[in-house]
């Protein structure tokens, strides 16, 4: 039992080694957490076959994408100790890159590549410039300036409607291999058609998983350790000869690139991109909630946070509807338990977790 808690339990040494290698020697370090993670991964892999229907698979794809988005945000928030409000801007750039390219250049894989490459380049340049202007002076400027730049971008995206589709966003066709009509196998497996839609889902799942493992590798690399040293004590790190600003800028560029990929995946899944699906400020708040409630500075926290959040978004509101209905006689109580007020409760949970559980859910589980 005690042994099981300290490492990935019960697996033979060789497999254990491979697994640890995949996880960059940074295992979950909690039995419950490991079980949760395995359960989440298994469910995500099996969703199309376990729970047929278009809504569950859509929720699953969203979970994959938000895990990647939250994990990349955690690289900044948890590992580097700086708060960006422009993370969904990069998410949006990824989405618009794909949407604009596929919309303009036709539904081919080349368009996907061009759109993604252009989006990545734009994100990298923007992240670099923002970092250079703000982090050079004071880390606190970074938060304010990212907020300003992100809202300017939001306005710009809705005003350059000829290019971005404005408020309506852009719909587009996917390359043929990702369309529902495309059959990988002629016959259904377990009653499920193996079509392009399914292919798109697994593409998203595996790209997200791969990117997540890559982020895990980055935070456990010497580079990641310097980031954490800076987070702990900026002045000491500077005294040890690390160029704090350079490291912070690099982290912010990497996080921006990962967010761009996540945005591209979301656009591919929805066959649409618009201000409300990727750019909006409320998504930024969602991501903040996911990372803090899941547990900052652990990456696994992002998995738990994003999964819980997306599920809650889909199902908690139903629960609150029931509670609110039963409290209809008490006006204020009824209105604060109204499903539209679910952000109120998340907000309270968020503030409490910053005070009381700075390690979030993962921090809690690891202390058990």
């Amino acid at each position: 039992m005690t042994l099981a808690m300290s490492s990935a339990a019960g697996t033979p040494p060789a497999r254990n080694g491979i697994l640890l290698g995949l996880l960059s020697a940074d295992p979950p370090r909690s039995r419950v957490l490991s079980l949760l993670l395995v359960a989440i991964l298994a469910t995500l892999v099996a969703t199309p076959f376990l729970i047929p229907g278009s809504q569950p698979i859509g929720t699953a794809a969203k979970i994959c994408i938000f895990i990647l988005l939250a994990a990349s945000f955690d690289l900044l928030l948890g590992y580097t100790g700086i708060v960006s409000f422009a993370h969904t801007m990069f998410f949006g750039i990824g989405g618009y890159g794909i949407a604009i390219a596929l919309n303009r250049l036709g539904a081919t894989w080349t368009s996907v590549a061009i759109g993604l490459a252009a989006a990545l380049a734009l994100s990298a340049v923007l992240a670099f410039i923002i970092g250079l202007v703000s982090l050079r002076v004071r880390a606190i400027f970074f938060s304010m300036i990212t907020l300003a730049v992100a809202s300017a971008m939001l306005v710009l995206a809705s005003q350059l409607s000829g290019f971005t589709g404005g408020e309506d966003g852009l719909s587009f066709q996917l390359p043929p291999e990702l369309r529902p009509a495309f059959r990988v196998l002629a016959d259904p497996v377990m009653g499920i058609a193996i079509n392009g839609r399914l292919l798109a889902y697994y593409l998203i799942l595996f790209v997200s998983l791969g990117m997540f493992l890559l982020l895990l590798r980055i935070v456990n690399s010497p580079f990641g350790r310097v980031l954490q040293a800076i987070r702990e004590n900026e002045f000491r790190a500077e005294a040890l000869g690390y160029r704090v600003v350079a490291y912070r800028i690099a982290a912010s560029v990497i996080a921006a690139l990962a967010a761009t990929v996540a945005g591209a995946l979301l656009a591919l899944w929805l066959r649409y991109n618009g201000p409300d699906t990727t750019l909006s400020f409320s998504i930024m708040i969602d991501v903040l909630l996911m990372v803090v409630i899941g547990g900052m500075g652990t990456l696994y926290g992002s998995v738990i946070g994003a999964t819980l959040f997306v599920l809650a978004q889909s199902y908690l509101q139903v629960l609150m509807g029931t509670v609110s209905g039963s409290l209809a006689a008490v006006p204020l109580l009824a209105s604060i338990t109204h499903p539209d007020r679910w952000l109120l409760w998340l907000g309270i949970l968020f503030v409490t977790s910053v005070y009381a559980f700075p390690g979030g859910i993962v921090g809690r589980l690891r202390r058990e």
Partner: protein, 339 residues
């Protein structure tokens, strides 16, 4: 000029000249922009709109910059006080709707005055609570301050939704404050004049308090060196709480002015202007009231001019102004010497 150097004795350092350049930016912008419009009337309209908006932004931003200067505390939830101030007008406009309809300048202005009083009272009270519950536990950590104040913002906005509903509410400007003063073909909206007058009055009052009263001296001293203020025997915490509460009340006042300017209330309206507020306090130099004033006018005038000439670029132009200022002076127009 040269005589002041001549009459100092050898061994004295020559006096550092006062820093006038940033003060010239606002008039320079107004003059340089003029030829772009072709006619006087649109220039006058846009300039008064810019000045009015600048005053409102100044009201909203001044408290935030002092709070930062004094205790190194950054409040991302400051926008709540703007929204709350705006919604607090409903407490007055509901029962006294008739005063707004009346064709009497006295009644109309009294109504506006009562709205302001109500808003400042509500936001001061909530500000005290916010400082106590949200901000106090997280001194010393910017990261936690940002997270917790954003959390406070979410919760407070949701409460506004719960109390007043989630859909936008329209508010009407009192009867005699509508319309414009017309001089030939130049029209100046009345409400903008009122906004400028109120903004200037508050700025003047603030200037007096900061320069002529002991508490003002303590605030200025505390922004420079809080530790030394404590070593002289003053409790900086108390000072900070009063500045926080006053700053919240000023944001509430700004919220009222903003509400009548837009004539629509939404819970997110505070957060929307916060973007400009942050740009302003960065441009001005964190902790500097003078910089905050100049920055507000600069940003609001630019936004109005560009909004007219190239509407799509209005917000982007503010980012550009900010970038230019930071390239010129990385710590803002009036950097505060902090120790």
């Amino acid at each position: 000029m040269s005589s002041s150097v001549a009459d100092t004795k050898p061994g004295d350092l020559p006096r550092t000249p006062r820093d006038w350049v940033p003060l010239l930016l606002v008039p320079a912008l107004m003059v340089l922009a003029a030829p772009l419009f072709g006619n006087v009337s649109s220039w006058v309209t846009l300039t008064t709109a810019g000045l009015a908006m600048g005053m409102m932004i100044f009201l909203m931003a001044s408290g935030l910059t002092l709070v930062f200067g004094l205790m190194d505390v950054i409040n991302f939830g400051h926008g709540v006080f703007i929204s709350l101030g705006a919604y607090a007008t409903l407490l007055v406009l509901g029962p006294l709707a008739a005063w707004g309809e009346a064709d009497s300048l006295v009644l109309n202005l009294s109504l506006l005055g009562l709205c302001i009083l109500a808003a400042m009272a509500v936001t001061a009270a909530v500000g005290m609570l916010f400082e106590r519950v949200i901000v106090r536990p997280v001194y010393g950590s910017h990261l936690k301050q940002i997270l917790v104040t954003v959390g406070g913002l979410i919760v407070a906005e949701q409460f506004i939704h719960a109390i007043w509903g989630a859909s936008p509410i329209t508010v009407a400007l009192p009867q005699t404050l509508r319309g414009a003063f017309v001089f030939g073909d130049v029209a100046i909206e009345r409400y903008r004049v009122i906004a400028v007058v109120i903004g200037l009055a508050v700025f003047g009052l603030m200037h007096l308090v900061l320069n002529r009263t002991r508490i003002g001296l303590l605030i200025r001293a505390g922004v420079e060196n809080a530790e030394m203020v404590e070593s002289l025997g003053y409790r900086i915490r108390r000072l900070f709480v009063s500045v926080f509460v006053a700053g919240s009340a000023l944001a509430g006042l700004g919220g009222v002015m903003w509400a009548f300017y837009r004539q629509t209330l939404t819970a997110g309206m505070g957060m929307d202007v916060m973007v400009l507020v942050f740009i302003v306090i960065i441009i001005g130099g964190l902790g500097s009231i003078g910089g905050c004033f100049v920055g507000s006018l600069l940003i609001a005038l630019t936004a109005n001019y560009v909004g007219f000439l190239a509407p799509k670029l209005a917000l982007v132009s503010n980012i550009l102004v900010m970038a230019l200022v930071l390239i010129w002076r990385p710590q803002g127009l009036f950097p505060v010497n902090r120790q």
